[in-house]
């Protein structure tokens, strides 16, 4: 019995790490620019389709598509922010909502038109491999995905902490006017931030493509999970996104195992509501970040 639950929890942690990558991307966008990227899940699905196409065309595992998906989405994010979204940073949040919902619908529509609504599974070489450790059975694909996700998250954290641009981004997040006053090129910095956020989503998509059958309508779930994690973990808190991702991953895995797979999101939504009402800054966020 213990063995079963241990495996469920570990499986949840692994998937949660990838969720954390998705959430980190959203956290960066939402946390720095306060933009409500309701198309975030769609970006993950773009990553998924990229990986799927790559696998279809080359036969190589989806993992190899990771850099392509990330690069593609980085460019897309930079361009999108610079050309379009920068105008909306100061606009009211409901205007942003509508813009991003529109973008999300367009992306989903485009996917459905291009690939059809049917799920597209990827069969990889590592398909059903399992790593064993004591009584734990770790699905190979999940484990690889989790490791890469954690590596990417760590890389992003380090980049934000130690590079000049990274510091500029953190400065702009803390104090926008101050950032402008000392000469940080805000439009460029914001575009970089968007690029990074999109790239995280795309990379996560490539990681997740072998785990879920790619189809256009998965996007909504990813968007909601990303927002749930960002809010529960804490806005503008990168450790919060990681913690939140792992937490939600485990929670959903346990809910699926204990109750029913179709009910797994029930707990997440209840948690979202409770956090919004009682502790909106999330587990690791600061009250001041709420603004």
């Amino acid at each position: 019995m213990l063995e079963l639950y241990a495996n469920v929890v570990v499986g949840g942690l692994l998937l949660g790490a990838v969720y954390a990558l998705i959430a980190t991307g959203l956290n960066v966008i939402f946390g720095v620019m306060r933009m409500v990227n309701f198309a975030h899940g769609e970006l993950v699905v773009v990553g998924m389709y990229t990986a799927y196409l790559f696998w279809k065309l080359t036969g190589l595992p989806a993992l190899a598509a990771l850099p392509i998906a990330a690069a593609l989405l980085f460019v897309a994010g930079y361009a999108f922010q610079r050309l379009l979204a920068n105008r909306f940073v100061e606009a009211g949040q409901h205007v942003q909502f509508i813009l991003f919902i529109g973008v999300a619908l367009m992306i989903t529509g485009a996917h459905a038109i291009a690939f059809g609504p049917d799920p597209r599974p990827i069969q990889g070489a590592a398909g059903f491999d399992v790593y064993r450790a004591v009584f734990l059975r770790l699905d190979a694909v999940r484990t690889q995905a989790a490791l890469f996700a954690l590596a990417l998250i760590a890389a992003l954290w380090a980049w934000l902490k130690y590079t000049l641009t990274g510091k500029a981004i953190r400065a702009a997040a803390d104090n926008l006017t101050g950032g402008r006053a000392i000469g940080i090129r805000i439009p460029h910095v914001f575009a970089i931030v968007a690029g990074l956020g999109f790239a995280c989503a795309g990379a996560a998509g490539a990681l997740v493509a072998p785990l879920f059958d790619t189809q256009p309508y998965l996007a909504g779930d990813f968007t909601m999970i990303a927002f749930i994690i960002v809010i529960v973990g804490g806005l503008a808190s990168l450790p919060g996104a990681l913690l939140g991702g792992l937490l939600i991953g485990v929670a959903e895995a346990l809910a699926a195992a204990l109750v029913a797979p179709s009910m797994k999101s029930l707990f997440s939504y209840a948690l979202l509501a409770l956090v919004i009402l009682l502790r909106p800054q999330g587990l690791l966020g600061k009250r001041s970040a709420l603004g």
Partner: protein, 323 residues
């Protein structure tokens, strides 16, 4: 209303009143859907315009209203004439709950929108596992027999629903118009402008916001009830899902939030566009075209006409409201 507005409205309604004489059943059913979403758009706008909060979870009230009337009629044979007030009451109560919690805890902006989604999605999943309403399999109303009396069962053919929903839309519009110039309307507009300043001159802001939310939810519930009667079947994914929440807001966003005519114009644009997209999609065997078109429309509105299409149209036809 200005003289010009009154004349235009009279002309518009006259045309609508006699349209069934020349339109076929399909066209009438599309128009009925237009009236329904215009009405729901007006209802949603009460929340947005007066409580000042964006609700992305209005499917919750739509669905509660739909299931209330359907279950009362389908399982207990209770006429929708009684079912509708029940639908209003339950949906209004749900909206009051969400509003009370949200406003009490000072939840704003994106957080409020996400709160509404959380409640709505939670309820959808719950309904999907609830035997009483048929779970994901759906809830079905009995097929209409030859002895059906539309004015009793509130179900009938295309012409019946056309007029029923036209009346509903007009009543919804009239109620909102009356409210705007009432004490409630003044208080609501004050709260929307500056809540603290409003409180300083005696406006009970919290009560007003909850009232706006409750009214918005209750009226939306009646819209949901009609939707159920119209289609004869309900699925949680449809009436309680996020897609419905988005469908609810598209017409008022496209038409414009600032006036009561915006949602009506919006519905007249969006619903036919959706039907057209569906036709195209079927014709070319392409799935998802209506998503693309909806998305493009929303983006276009946000970029080029953020206040909606009614203001420029009103200016063109010289139908603006003199302040």
């Amino acid at each position: 209303m200005t003289g010009r507005q009154q004349a235009a409205a009279a002309a518009f309604l006259s045309v609508l009143a006699v349209l069934p004489a020349v339109a076929d059943d399909f066209q009438l059913s599309v128009l009925a859907l237009i009236f329904l979403f215009a009405y729901v758009g007006i209802a949603w706008n009460l929340m947005m315009g007066f409580a000042g909060q964006l609700s992305l979870g209005h499917a919750l009230y739509f669905g509660i209203g739909a299931y209330t009337v359907a279950v009362l009629a389908g399982k207990y044979g209770i006429t929708p004439w009684l079912g509708m007030p029940a639908a209003f009451a339950l949906a209004a109560a749900a909206a009051a709950l969400v509003g009370t919690l949200g406003f009490r805890f000072a939840v704003r902006g994106v957080y409020f929108a996400l709160l509404t989604i959380a409640f709505s999605e939670f309820t959808r999943i719950a309904f999907e596992h609830w035997d009483f309403v048929g779970k994901t399999g759906g809830f079905f109303l009995r097929a209409l027999g030859p002895d059906n009396r539309p004015l009793v069962s509130l179900r009938g053919g295309a012409t019946f629903f056309y007029y029923a929903l036209l009346v509903t839309m007009v009543l919804g519009w009239a109620l909102s118009a009356a409210l705007v110039s009432s004490r409630l309307g003044y208080y609501w507009r004050a709260v929307r402008e500056d809540e603290d300043a409003a409180r300083a001159i005696g406006v009970p802001a919290f009560r007003m916001k909850v009232a706006a939310a409750a009214l918005s939810g209750g009226l939306t519930g009646i819209g949901g009830a009609w939707f159920g009667l119209l289609g004869g079947s309900l699925f949680p994914e449809t009436v309680l899902g996020m897609r419905m929440s988005i469908d609810v807001i598209i017409a008022p966003i496209v038409g414009g939030l600032g006036s009561l005519y915006g949602p009506i114009l919006g519905a007249f644009i969006v619903i036919p566009l959706n039907e057209f997209a569906k036709e195209l999609a079927q014709h070319f065997n392409v799935n998802g075209l209506n998503f693309l078109i909806y998305g493009a429309l929303l983006c276009a509105i946000v970029l080029f006409a953020p206040h909606g299409l009614w203001p420029p149209l009103a200016r063109l036809l010289r139908l603006e409201t003199r302040r």
